[in-house]
């Protein structure tokens, strides 16, 4: 079977997903096109060089609707013969794009792909595409739907994580992100966002709060307590599904949950032969991919079963993994992962994560694969695993191995 390799991985800096965020003036298509152009320029992708652009994006309405993948290709300098596929697996969309591309290459359906994603959360509001699972009573009741924040708090309650545990993880994420920027560790993959005149719009992750400490986080109120306990009372629904719990411990807030940001990322995935033909060297092999469905109410525990699955499928053990990227959607998601596999926290999210730098939903999966690869190379390690929790109860994972 053909193997699939990563040749390059780039991302934009993440802008605050608000009206005063630096990327707020940039359209989803332009931001995406910037990433595609960077991959084209860095790897000399002339003509019909790749089979397809698979582009993850969660809120596919308005400017992010209408198959943004194809729009982005046409807005970029890529050849028009390269089509575009817009996909949505919520927060793992960017990872799913890479995994899908890898598996297409492995299966022989094309030699090369650009895979990644985008989310302009300040321009296209999260949830504005609707969601029957939340709104359709026959489905919402049957699945005991609760919003993600409640799910994150269920994880904390079920697995015994305290507010302090979560806040410590958040402080650490901020520290590591700052250290990584100070040490220029993202330099390989960061592509500044520029305007049509070549002027830089944003060159760094602007969401970070390096001064964050336990005290400043301690002042924040739990974000999901009211909707859980008062209106409309989602805790009751959580307890219906988890009747052995007496109550839900609301520990999450804006400071220990992922940030709302704008951003995009892309990965060039191709076969060995393709690289030889184009005269470029692969950086890592995509060894295994996996996805799984989990209980939709606790919703965000997917990284644990999907990691079990990917390790089993790859014939590996947790000890075979040198570094981990576990998306910091909420602190409890990462805490649960480390608890379940008893992994050393110093090997997880070494350069910070979404709590510090933000989580542009459709892009994050591709971002963390790139971050993982950069860090494997920097620290001269071999095997890395990236995983994300996913809305509606899913999980996705990728194992990469340097070559």
């Amino acid at each position: 079977m053909t193997e699939a390799y990563i040749y390059d991985a780039v991302r934009t800096p993440r802008g605050k997903g608000r009206q005063d965020g630096s990327l707020h003036e940039v359209t989803s298509a332009r931001l995406s096109a910037g990433v595609l152009n960077a991959l084209k320029d860095r790897n000399n992708l002339e003509g019909h060089a790749v089979e397809d652009v698979i582009w993850g994006n969660v809120t596919q309405v308005g400017e992010q609707g209408g198959c943004l993948a194809r729009t982005a290709v046409l807005a970029s300098n890529l050849d028009e013969r390269i089509p575009g596929l817009a996909i949505n697996r919520f927060c793992a969309s960017g990872m799913e794009a890479v995994n899908l591309a890898a598996n297409q290459v492995k299966g022989g359906a094309g030699e090369a792909y650009i895979a990644g994603g985008v989310e302009m959360m300040g321009r296209v509001a999260m949830g504005s595409d609707g969601a029957a699972i939340a709104v359709d009573p026959s489905i919402a009741m049957e699945t005991y739907f609760v919003p993600q924040g409640i799910s994150a708090d269920i994880i904390a309650t079920e697995y015994g994580f305290t507010r302090d545990d979560a806040d410590q993880l958040a402080v650490e994420s901020q520290k590591r992100a700052k250290a990584a920027w100070d040490d220029n560790r993202f330099a390989k993959s960061i592509v500044a966002v520029r305007d049509q005149n070549g002027l830089e719009i944003l060159g760094h992750d602007e969401y970070m709060r390096p001064g964050t400490d336990m005290q400043s986080l301690g002042a924040l109120k739990p974000a999901f307590k009211d909707m859980g306990e008062v209106m409309p009372g989602f805790d009751k629904i959580a307890l219906m599904k988890y009747p052995h719990l007496a109550y839900i411990n609301h520990i999450h807030h804006a400071g220990n949950s992922s940030g709302i940001v704008d951003g995009a990322a892309g990965v060039l995935v191709a076969s060995k032969e393709w690289g030889d033909k184009h005269g470029i060297k692969p950086r890592a092999r995509i060894r295994q991919t996996a996805k799984i469905g989990t209980d939709p109410t606790i919703m965000l525990t997917g990284p644990v079963p999907v990691t079990h699955k990917i390790l089993a499928d790859a014939g590996m053990a947790i000890g075979d993994i040198d570094l981990f990227e576990v998306n910091e959607a909420f602190a409890s998601v990462v805490l649960r992962f480390m608890q379940a596999f008893n992994v050393d926290p110093s090997l997880v999210n070494v350069n910070g994560g979404s709590i510090a730098m933000g989580h542009p939903l459709g892009a994050t999966g591709a971002i963390i694969i790139g971050t993982l690869l950069d860090e494997l190379e920097r620290s001269d390690k071999e095997v890395g695993l990236a995983t994300l929790c996913i809305a509606s109860g899913m999980g996705a994972a990728t194992i990469i191995e340097r070559v």
Partner: protein, 731 residues
């Protein structure tokens, strides 16, 4: 004879009058539907008719639908009840839609004849759904009239367009208390809420409605106009999105997910909101059909509507002359006595409230005063009503005041000797026809009756606490109790507007007999190391109002200890509950007597607000590593109660399974969605129920042993309502 008649006035207004002969209130039958359909056709076709007013020949508009309609629809398509129901409902929608469109051009909305509804009084269920299809609803200013859609209360939902029209008219948020809680309003409040359009003086009702019809009004419904937008936003409108996300959570949370009608209603609202009106009606009909075919809805209608009403109307009343109570003597002015005095006075009965000390008697009377004060502050009662009720209560220590009482209800201390003394003292004063009732919850009536010179006039009338809130009254026949006493008790219960069941005299009668094993099973599980949170939540998730541990806190641990000791003394070596007593006695020793002590299985704060489970429980009975499945906990909790109900039937304590079902729901809140213990067993099927009992017996012991009756019925494949329902219904 027809239910609807039409007369066209000289001014060209056709008056369609609904007047079902021989009924105090109009109910809609299938024949009535056809009458109305034909008259509407006739009015719309007749050029001399300018418009229509639909009204009633009675002082109310209508009480609802004859439930036989549902049975007939079900049967109308042979062996396919879903088809029969759906088509029947669509035909009904057709009639109402014809009224609503009133001959307008489909595309231009031009033409058509105005049709007004004129409601002289109460309009419930279909009695409001017909007006909602009209173009304007007038109601007489009658504060006693109740207007609303109470269907949800009996396990269905408004399925004749009421759901779709109300949501389109008011928006999902505003309509939700009316649809999801069945909230009824008087005409003024109904108008404020936007359910009806105008309230006018009763004698101007018809003239106002006719004047409107003749005023060439605009009659197009908003939802039939281009660009209609649902008030408050449709589901994928930003505002509507939050409403709908919240609605599912609230309905699911408040109903613990066990009421199919609430879910179906919400689905009909949501799915209907996304499509044009006629499609929405079709969706409503599909969900309504789904609910009507749901065994839970069927059982709820049977117990909470048909059989509850039958029992209230005296289904099991002996055939003796009217025994309406004129003057009742209430002995003992404690919590129960005070409550009995209140409900009696409220029903217009003269009350003598007697206690040993005047202070105590006065305090008992003040309960009525406080009750009305609360009602007045909430605008639910008037000062006049309070004065009238208080004037009926004589608080006294003087037995002579009991002279002239035709019923005595004794609620003194639970002690055979004290009760005997009181019985004798009273019988010396009252007339020889007076019926003597004891409100005992634990002592045998037959035993108490021995103190009476007239044991055939001695009976048990067991109230539940708090008397003014609880809907059920358990009437207990002692061995010697005669028919007149039973009739007296039933007539009294009818007067105070509660629901009676009549049972025979065995330990704990019926309700307590079933509740105690429920509590005990919860305590047993705690002792075994089942996580108490799981026990409590499992109970609530199967529709019990309180978990067994919380219920024990509410009724108090020392009462449990007292009952346990008395039962053990009576049963001797056969006593099966030593394991339960271990926990109860320990709790009592720890001073954790329940809510009244602000310390029980749960913790309570200074204001008495319930908090977490007490930490001491986990120390004494740590949760085991191997926790049972939710469903296993629920089986234990339900079968503990249900098997006791079956045994009560076997032993003749219960004479009528309808009483067993209605009594369980109203008496102790037994999973109302099930329709009661016997309905639940029928739903499971007796063969499966017997199998489950065998499995529970194997795991947990003989208290789950399959009763012979259930075993026999399982072998024969019988249902309880098949075997025991028919004969009683026919009676």
């Amino acid at each position: 004879m027809t239910d609807f008649t039409m007369k066209t006035d000289a001014d060209g207004v056709a008056i369609i009058t609904w007047d079902v002969k021989g009924k105090s209130m109009n109910v809609l039958s299938l024949e009535g539907w056809d009458d109305l359909d034909a008259l509407v056709d006739q009015a719309l076709a007749d050029d001399a008719v300018k418009g229509v007013v639909i009204t009633s020949g009675k002082d109310t508009f209508a009480g609802g639908m004859d439930l036989n309609i549902i049975a007939k629809m079900k049967a109308s398509a042979g062996d396919n009840p879903a088809k029969g129901l759906f088509e029947g409902l669509m035909k009904s929608h057709g009639i109402l839609r014809k009224i609503e469109r009133a001959g307008m051009e489909p595309k231009t909305n031009k033409g058509g004849k105005p049709i007004a509804a004129a409601l002289p009084g109460t309009a419930l269920g279909i009695g409001l759904e017909i007006p909602l299809a009209c173009h304007r609803i007038f109601a007489a200013d009658n504060p006693k009239a109740k207007i609303g859609l109470p269907e949800i209360m009996v396990g269905i939902f408004p399925g004749m367009g009421g759901t779709t029209r109300l949501v389109r008219k008011m928006g999902a948020m505003a309509a939700s208390p009316l649809l999801l809680q069945g909230k009824l309003n008087d005409p003024k409040r109904a108008m404020q809420a936007g359910v009806i359009d105008e309230v006018v003086a009763a004698d101007e009702l018809m003239s106002a409605a006719k004047a409107w019809v003749l005023s060439e009004p605009t009659i197009v419904k908003p939802w039939d106009e281009k660009g209609y937008k649902m008030p408050g936003g449709a589901p994928y409108h930003p505002a509507g999105f939050m409403t709908f996300v919240g609605a599912s959570a609230m309905v699911n949370g408040n109903t613990m997910g066990v009421y199919p009608a609430a879910k179906a209603l919400l689905s009909a609202v949501y799915e209907g909101a996304l499509v044009p009106f006629d499609t929405a009606l079709k969706i409503e009909a599909r969900w309504f059909t789904n609910v009507l075919l749901n065994p839970s809805s069927e059982a709820m209608i049977r117990s909470l509507f048909i059989n509850k009403e039958a029992l209230e109307k005296g289904a099991n009343r002996p055939d003796v002359a009217d025994q309406t109570v004129k003057k009742v003597g209430v002995l003992g002015a404690g919590m129960m006595g005070a409550g009995i005095a209140l409900v009696s006075a409220k029903a217009g009965i003269e009350v003598v409230l007697l206690d040993q000390k005047q202070d105590a008697a006065d305090k008992g009377k003040s309960y009525t005063s406080d009750y009305y004060d609360k009602g007045i502050s909430r605008k639910k009662a008037t000062v006049e009503q309070k004065e009238a009720a208080l004037s009926r209560i004589t608080a006294t220590t003087d037995y002579a005041a009991l002279k002239g009482c035709d019923l005595i209800v004794e609620a003194v201390f639970e002690d055979l000797g004290i009760k005997a003394t009181v019985t004798k003292a009273v019988e010396e004063i009252v007339g020889k026809d007076c019926i003597f009732a004891s409100n005992t919850s634990t002592l045998p009536i037959t035993e108490l009756a021995k103190a009476s010179a007239r044991p055939d006039q001695f009976i048990g009338i067991h109230f539940f606490s708090p008397v003014d809130k609880m809907l059920l009254v358990e009437i207990i026949k002692g061995k010697a109790t005669g028919d007149v006493a039973v009739a007296k008790a039933l007539d009294f219960v009818r007067q105070i507007r509660k629901t009676p069941i009549v049972v025979n005299d065995e330990r704990f009668f019926y309700a307590n007999r079933c509740i105690i094993p429920y509590i005990n099973e919860g305590i047993r599980m705690l002792r075994e190391g089942v996580n108490p949170v799981l026990i409590e939540n499992a109970a609530k998730l199967v529709g019990m109002p309180l978990g067994p541990l919380q219920l024990t806190d509410e009724t108090s641990i020392d009462l449990g200890v007292k009952i346990a000791k008395a039962t053990k003394a009576a049963m001797g070596a056969d006593y099966p509950n030593d394991e339960v007593d271990e926990v109860l006695f320990w709790m009592a020793d720890e001073g954790r007597l329940g809510r009244k002590a602000n310390a029980g299985f749960f913790t309570y704060d200074d204001k008495g607000k319930r908090g977490d489970l007490w930490e001491g429980l986990a120390a004494k009975y740590p949760a085991s590593d191997d926790q049972p499945d939710l469903i296993e906990v629920q089986r234990r909790l339900l079968f503990a109660q249900v098997l006791e109900a079956v045994r009560a039937l076997e032993e003749g304590v219960l004479e009528d399974i309808r009483e067993g079902d209605v009594g369980a729901i109203l008496g102790w809140g037994f999973a109302p969605w099930s329709g009661g213990p016997f309905s639940w067993l029928d739903m499971l099927g007796t063969p499966y129920a017997a199998e489950r009992c065998d499995a529970l017996t194997a795991s947990y012991g003989d208290r789950f042993a399959t009763p012979d009756l259930l075993r026999e019925m399982a072998a024969k494949g019988q249902t309880f309502y098949g075997r025991f329902g028919a004969q009683k219904n026919a009676a």
